[in-house]
Amino acid sequence: MILVWMIVILLIGGLLCWLTARANEHAAKWVALVTMLIDAALICGVCFTQRVSSINTWIVDIKTQWIPAYGIGFHLAMDGLSMVMLLLTFFLGTLAVLCSWNEIKQRTGFYYFNLLCTLAGIAGVFVAMDLFLFYFFWEVMLVPMYFLIAIWGDTNRRYAAYKFFIFTQAGGLLMLIAILSLYFIHAAQSGVYSYDYFDLLNTTLQPSAARWIMMGFLVAFVIKLPMVPLHNWLPDAHSEAPTAGSLILAGLLLKTGAYGIMRFVLPLFPQAAEAIAWWAMLLAVIGIVYGAMLAFAQTDIKRLIAYTSVSHMGFVLLGIFSFNAVAMQGVVMQMITHGISTGALFVLAGMLKERLHTRDIESMGGLWSSLPAMGAVGMLFTMASLGLPMLGNFIAEFLVLMGAFTANVPLTVIATFGLVFSAIYSLRFVQKVFLGPSTFQKPLPDFSAREFVMMAALSIAIVWLGVYPQPVLDMVQHAVQAVVTK
């Protein structure tokens, strides 16, 4: 039941925020924080008490009927992969609440309601083992995210919100058709009408059918990921969203795409996935290089970080379609470390915006002297993002490249150049923002206690993952093995 509780607590917390804000604007954020902490405590409790082993891959498993007329069940289950993603979700979720603390002054109740509902949807996506339920959560996280962008976003927020919603919805509906086709093919073979993941795994598909159905799934996931030709909702949504929105988008929403490919596309359609692997890796490499080049050209700090996401998620796609355990481990690491490092950069950008009221890096400069602590943290996370050893992203990218090298040498070589590009844009970022002549004469406040706690948590996490990633690798090992052996 613990998974149900996790989601229900988020929803109840959201409703409470909405209601309490009518009495007191400040109450909402405390309710939201307490909700997130309860959920974080729950998942940590599971993490410490339950051990994933090769016999017991699925730690928690709840299964009941939901809409029996269509064979739809309510099936939540958690393995190592889901657990890691949930840990990330609640960690970043707590930070999202904290970083909205002073930023959101209007309509706080509705804001935290939407924030917690988005997180509930994301948590649901990571544990739903019924394809209908998965689709349901997949869509549920969209609407509140849309509101976060459209109501509390920046000047161009409506455009960004439409674009975000329409792109993801288009992919989602194609996935729905694919799910339905799979469902009917499975029903025709076995006579059992079921959307359950474990039932559908036993479906044998004609190659042509498998190809089409897989494309339906894949389009939805690579839009979210995003893969290069379908990435262009991302810079708008990231740059216009409020800080917490960007944090959740970059840290969690993008990961649902990668998670979906690992959980559904590879196990359900192994042959079809292998057939398109070369193309997927090619697009991944194009994404790595192209994202890095665009990041270099940006002057808007949030757009810059957004394009680095495109580049980093290229590594994820590259690793997934290498089909080996090392790369897959790297992919999971990349998902986590990218969530943390990019999330941290977005939070930093939000803090800078709070102080300077601009996102334009041309008008920043020399901030290190007035904001030394922030400068140091900024340096740390740009280093993480460019893949400096000792920091988590290095482990991730190294594993991905090592795995991909066995699958496709030329593409991996090009992808490795992506690391060089990332060094260029990262250094430009640090140079423009923190170094150089100071343009701001007014004294600026450095970290407050709240901001310090947030940044300390993120810094510890990224260093820890860089120095001692073994616990994470252990946790996902069986899940990864299961995906690869298929």
Binding site: W66, I67, V140, Y146, I166, A170, L173, L174
Partner: protein
């Protein structure tokens, strides 16, 4: 006619007597309030009567009518819609200059027409029902005769509906000429013995389809929809959008079931074509609308197109999906138009999008209800509209109707844009203070809010726990299918 047959007709007799009772009340110079309450009670009585006679069903009243499970579902839905529309009518007409009393006679006559359609099994009763519905609508649309738009809309509907009736009659005549029978079963029997589809029958079906498409406002017979929706008083618009469409769809389903319409290749092609152009046309035309009534008119064109996709398979799953879709669509539109009614002032309807700017911040409840209704129209999870769309896709994919299904998906992504446009208007910043000019009977304001809340609960309830509704429809349909055998 035996007593059981009379009993089966009891709900319809009560419905017919409702108009008579209202006429008598008007003759006795009763007030609007009394008429409204009596009308409400009469509709409740119809529901009670339906519950009372449930064991008598299914029962055929030869040769014109048949009261079975399907009729019960459709009639129940119609009566439910009229109950709600009646409630909304009070606050709408109470503050208009025109005498609102005769309005109720017409509404109940129109309802009777739609209800007769649901139980027709003969061309004569179809025609009577349709004319009863249309003639009430002519007057209802132009009811606020001091408004320019209203008279124009009434004239437009009169001319076009009369022409479509002519088409219908001509089609019926041709089919009668070919088969020598006017009741559905007789036609079906004759067709079976003939064993092929002769030109007269095909032409007759084609002509009848013109009339049906006109009534359902499907492209290319949709030209009246936007003007009529805009010109008619809001409750009447609501009536056209829900009740009249349910009635016509019911008769279409029954006729198609009897003659196995979907087994004729030409019919499938015609219906697919109409469905596709309606989905595309409706959604594209709605994009630019600034008037919410016109926008909903175009959106309902698209929705009837979706409904036809469920109608195409012609099997039990398709009919169930269609019924659920109609249910979801009706409660959604009731809620949406309910809000429009609530906001409409003495001088004009609240049909400009500007009137909705920041509605959520001015009146959170109304804003939330309209938001949920729009999300339901867009087919987003947690709402009834999503399950409806899912059921339709389910039916379509099962029969591998790829083209209509793909068009449905693409057009609903297009549709998303204009629903989001309204939603973001609802949540936009607003400076305008709208004066409160209403001083209505608090009982009715409370009643209206109550009705809106019920609709909200239904919308969300059917979206989260649709089993109850689906099973209900299935049970009723089982009764309905039994009739074919006796």
């Amino acid at each position: 006619m035996d007593s059981l047959q009379l009993q089966a007709l009891l709900p319809f007799i009560v419905l017919a007597s409702a108009s008579v009772v209202i006429i008598l009340l008007i003759a006795a110079r009763q007030s609007h309030t009394v008429i409204q309450i009596t009308g409400f009670l009469m509709m409740c009585l119809v529901v009670l009567a339906m519950w009372y006679v449930r064991d008598v069903l299914p029962r055929a009243i030869m040769p014109l009518l048949v009261v079975d499970g399907m009729a019960a579902v459709f009639t129940g839905l119609i009566v439910f819609c009229v109950l709600i529309i009646g409630l909304f009518s009070f606050i709408y007409f109470e503050e208009r200059e025109e005498n609102p009393k005769e309005y109720y006679i017409l509404i109940f006559l129109g309802t009777l027409g739609a209800a007769v359609l649901t139980i027709s099994r003969h061309f004569i009763s179809v025609f009577i029902g349709l004319e009863l519905l249309s003639i009430s609508l002519y007057a209802l649309i132009a009811y606020l005769r001091n408004r320019n738009n209203a008279v124009e809309a009434g004239m437009k509907y009169l001319v076009l509906a009369a022409m479509s009736s002519a088409f219908l009659l001509f089609g019926m005549a041709l089919i009668y000429m070919d088969t020598g029978s006017m009741d559905f079963d007789g036609i079906a029997k004759q067709l079976q013995t003939q064993g092929h589809s002769p030109a007269l029958f095909v032409t007759g079906i084609g002509l009848m389809m013109v009339a049906v498409c006109f009534k359902l406002a499907l492209v290319p017979f949709h030209l009246w929809a936007a003007d009529v929706y805009q010109g008619a008083p809001v409750p009447v618009t609501n009536f056209i959008a829900t009740v009249s469409k349910i009635g016509v769809f019911a008769v279409l389903v029954r006729f198609a079931q009897a003659v196995q319409l979907q087994s004729y290749h030409f019919a499938v092609i015609i219906i697919s074509f109409v469905a596709i152009v309606s989905m595309v046309g409706g959604n594209l035309l709605a994009i630019k609308q600034q008037n919410i009534k016109r926008l909903l008119a175009y959106s309902s064109i698209a929705h009837l197109g979706y409904l036809l996709v469920a109608f195409l398979p012609g099997n039990a799953a398709g009919i169930e999906a269609g019924m659920f879709y109609l249910f979801a669509y009706s409660i959604t539109l009731l809620a949406a138009f309910g809000i429009v009614t609530m906001l409409s002032g003495r001088q004009a309807d609240a049909d400009q999008l500007e009137a909705y700017r920041g509605l959520y911040w001015r009146n959170p409840l109304m804003g939330a209800i309209l938001t949920v209704a729009l999300l339901s129209l867009a087919g987003i999870p947690l709402t009834a509209g999503f399950i409806g769309k899912f059921a339709v896709l389910n039916a379509g994919v099962q029969q591998q109707l790829w083209l209509p299904v793909i068009v449905l998906v693409i057009t609903s992504v297009i549709g998303l844009y204009y629903y989001l446009r309204i939603i973001s208007t609802l949540f936009a910043e607003t400076q305008v203070i709208f004066p409160k000019e209403k001083s209505l009977h608090p009982l009715f304001v409370a009643g209206t809010y109550g009705a809106l809340l019920v609709l909200l609960i239904l919308l969300l309830g059917a979206g989260i726990f649709p089993s109850a509704v689906i099973d209900g429809i299935k049970n009723f349909l089982c009764q309905g299918f039994r009739i074919i055998n006796f």
